[in-house]
Symmetry: C2
Subunit: 544 residues, 2 copies
């Protein structure tokens, strides 16, 4: 009863009882425990965990020899190949920071990112040499360029750098002594947001968050040892939602995939007994719309995690009917990828499949390692009532919120103001505590003073049997301010008309929410399957 906290005396951190959290621990452990287990498959190429770990060590050592060290950026422009996978580990072993580039971006943005991130080295796949050659002329400085020459790739492209990745590895040494970061808050990766307007922002992740979200993927998704993980999701997207580290932790097998299409997905499921894959709803659309020739039967459980846009309930229902176990997650680049999941409840299994799909299309609840998830009025920072109707901004708090934006203190401070990350997404809180997205702030259509959720309209459009993909944006209107304009990718062979679509909407929506204009076209999409609404908004201005 001394008034002193006895637990604060002589019980401090020592090297024996404190280790910084880092996903590097996972690959070290797996290489030691399961050295012969297959780590990576890419066409004819196969590696074991012993080999992948050794290649990561060589990569780290080679980078060190060219002067890369703590806090230096290593940029990577690559598909889902073994090399790309190794880049999730090698640079971090030196305390360097990996910056994976979105391969669909143009040379200007790539050049911007290379300079803003101060990349010391660029590792680039020959497939992307046209863009990279162009970008390199724009950066106005020398940079060491290493070429990935993938024997599984036979398309156009050329080497543009000093040496090949394999030759670079040869300069390294797999006996490298490396250490975990001294501080788990140290940066591990840099991810530029695609940025529909303005310069891209560089989102910085740290070792602690990468470790925790890699684990949260396991717990949230009920993953067990030795998953066979198919890379339908680009690894450049939020570091593959932290799955490179998740698969390492579980001693799983990474099945690489350069081209995501229905035939390749079914082939991998059949050939490698894929147990898990992730992707935007566009990947789900590939799967459910596969032709008989593309399909392969499978009898094992295939788990699919989807995010990036709220999946239409009809898509979820069809995936389930076809034997896929779909988990719906939600997150942003700023939250290490998935940070919210529609945690499934056993009692929902007895609901009709349409109702199940509706329930599953909601974004849901916080990941285990996300401490707080809230819908708030961004002005007052007060939570909205759990009424399913009152809109507010989705806010996140916890260890899987980014360190911040690189060299952009103003935006970092604004986005983390008030103890919460302000996502810019709008949603409601349902009475059962599950959040449901309504829109990006800028995607709300305000017509005659009424807010229209473009997502709500799109979810109706997706129910139409002829609709392959749909997006709704605001079209400026003299009378109403804005009206909804629908862009539709129809299924092959359909002859649906604009009138059919509008009639369908009127049968299923309040009339003020119905599109006044319908345009049939191929929807512009980002490489991650996100529909580029800013482009559609331009088109909508001109639509009649």
């Amino acid at each position: 009863m001394t008034g002193v906290n006895i637990y604060d005396i002589d019980l401090g951190q020592t090297p024996a009882n404190f280790t910084p959290l880092s996903p590097l621990s996972f690959i070290r452990r797996t290489a030691a425990v399961y050295p012969s287990h297959t780590s990576v498959i890419h066409g004819q190429r196969r590696f074991t965990w012993r080999e992948t770990y050794a290649r990561c060590l060589r990569l780290a050592q080679a980078l060190r020899k060219v002067g890369v060290g703590k806090g230096d950026t290593v940029a990577v422009m690559a598909s889902n190949t073994p090399e790309m996978y190794e880049c999730a580990f090698g640079p971090a072993m030196l305390g360097a920071v990996v910056n994976t580039m979105n391969v669909r971006l143009d040379a200007d943005i790539i050049a911007f990112a290379l300079n803003h991130g101060e990349a010391r080295v660029l590792i680039t796949d020959t497939e992307f040499s046209p863009t990279i050659k162009d970008a390199l002329t724009k950066i106005g400085r020398d940079i060491l360029v290493i070429d990935i020459v993938d024997p599984e790739y036979s398309g156009p492209g050329e080497t543009v750098g000093k040496m090949t990745y394999e030759a670079f590895l040869e300069t390294g040494d797999e006996t490298l002594e490396w250490e975990l970061p001294t501080d788990e808050w140290d940066a591990i990766s840099l991810n530029y947001t695609s940025g529909t307007t303005g310069d891209p922002k560089g989102v910085v992740y740290h070792h602690r968050g990468a470790y925790l979200n890699a684990i949260s993927n396991i717990i949230g998704w009920n993953m067990t040892h030795h998953p066979v993980y198919l890379w339908t999701l680009p690894m450049f997207h939020c570091n593959g939602w932290c799955f490179p580290w998740t698969v390492a932790a579980l001693a799983g097998t990474n099945v690489c995939l350069r081209r995501v299409n229905a035939a390749n997905v079914f082939d991998a499921i059949d050939r490698h007994k894929v147990s898990h894959f992730c992707g935007a709803p566009i990947v789900l659309n590939f799967v459910i719309n596969a032709t008989d020739a593309e399909r392969r039967p499978f009898s094992h459980q295939v788990n699919v995690m989807t995010a990036a846009a709220p999946p239409p309930a009809s898509t979820l229902a069809r995936m389930q009917q076809q034997g896929f176990n779909v988990t719906h997650v939600y997150g942003l680049t700023e939250t290490y990828g998935p940070a919210v999941m529609c945690a499934w409840k056993d009692e929902w299994n007895s609901e009709p499949i349409e109702k199940q799909a509706y329930l599953k299309a909601r974004q849901g609840v916080n990941y285990h390692v996300l401490e707080g998830l809230c819908i708030m009025d961004p002005e007052t920072m007060m939570p909205v009532p759990a009424d399913g109707e009152t809109m507010g901004e989705v806010m996140f708090k916890g260890n899987i919120v980014m360190k911040g934006y690189l060299k952009n203190n103003k935006t970092t401070t604004e986005s983390l103001a008030g103890g919460w990350f302000h996502s810019g997404d709008l949603g409601v809180l349902q009475p059962d505590g599950y959040i449901q997205l309504k829109d990006r702030s800028k995607d709300i259509i305000i017509s005659g003073g009424e807010n229209i959720s473009s997502i709500e309209v799109e979810s109706v459009l997706y129910k139409h049997p002829a609709v392959m993909a749909a997006a709704v944006v605001a079209k400026p209107d003299d009378k109403w301010g804005e009206t909804p304009c629908a862009f539709i990718e129809a299924k092959d062979g359909s002859n649906v008309t604009a009138e059919d679509i509008i009639k369908f909407c009127r049968d299923n929506l309040a009339s003020f929410k119905c599109p006044r204009h319908v345009v049939f076209c191929e929807l512009p999409k980002t490489s991650t399957g996100k529909i580029q609404k800013f482009k559609l908004r331009e088109l909508a201005r001109e639509a009649n």
Copy 2:
């Protein structure tokens, strides 16, 4: 190229992107996401997660009202009851530290712990009132005592405190506002080692380690959502190996058990579809030696985690034959319970069952969240070769090594010297990187200059069909220094003789390792099923 680490600028911790790790996050999330799911079953008593969380909040608030706060100790003397489970959370919500007592200890040691830990409150089950009454007379100060009066308990005992636990909860308020610890290094629990010699040592755990080991149980054991966890393991043992927090994270159901015996275990498996339980090999012995009347058939997977003593291969083989999926783990109070596991490899499935049992009886590899596991020469701190023969001391490093021993800086410093926790256990490193325990240092028998592992001799004894339990200790010997002395608990109805046993050992062991003396008796055990070898050593001195 400025030489500055750009990732260190303006990217610090904020309330939005940093949260201390604490297992309290798990119960908060589960109560919010799965409020109606059954949290705890104890005979006729049943609770949901909403209710258990509310009871923890009431407990915390009630404790606060009597002056308990950060760094204060709350002692608990209880069986595996709902109240005991709630004590894994309630005190921690205040920053207080729970000290669960081993209920088999005597009044002197309980009194010692109450005073050494400076407990402000003692929560005690009426079953243990004789010991507690005695202990309270010895501590020489007032302490608030709260009685657990369990309606499921009908044995002897009386209330000894100021009020009942239920009345105490009534003084609390479930709308308590609580916060995570400000520092994840803050203490969450205090566990006294049973201490065969000298005063017990108070092992202190922190929130970070509790969080991480709770998660590591999930990943290592392939646990998925909603396990049904049977409490065969005492919760007072290393905080139930962190499983109270694991079950909360997974929104599982805790099935309490006051008396561990074969009938109760099979009854729970049948009635509640138990999916997981843990225990010392003694629990496995209950199961494999159950009578037909005690057994219940089951068709679902029952996963069993065992530790505390290296399980005899024959026990493992019989468990497997009876349909239990056994995982062997190893750890100490100082490592939050399990920290090492015999990670199973698929290729071992094709081995004969005896070989499988041998492989599984090894302690194995580090838990995912344990950074380092090593067998070293404690003098030189050099790792032993991976030859399966060279003995060294098992050393641990990482976030699930304790904060230290309470008010015992000398022993803390010694045990964490050189960047590793020195376990005092002796073992070898096998060529495949799996460690195998050979003995506690003090359990090694040195006979004629040769080291004899008592575990090796015991594992032979367990293969004898008449042996229920066996332990081997050193008996002082004028000629040899020491010789092995075997204590054997024979199976009911067997009429095995000492000569039979010695003959059996000679057929299976080098002769210098064979026991010279065999004593048939009931083996003295701790409450956790550990055989008390120090008592046997005393008996061995007198054996003829």
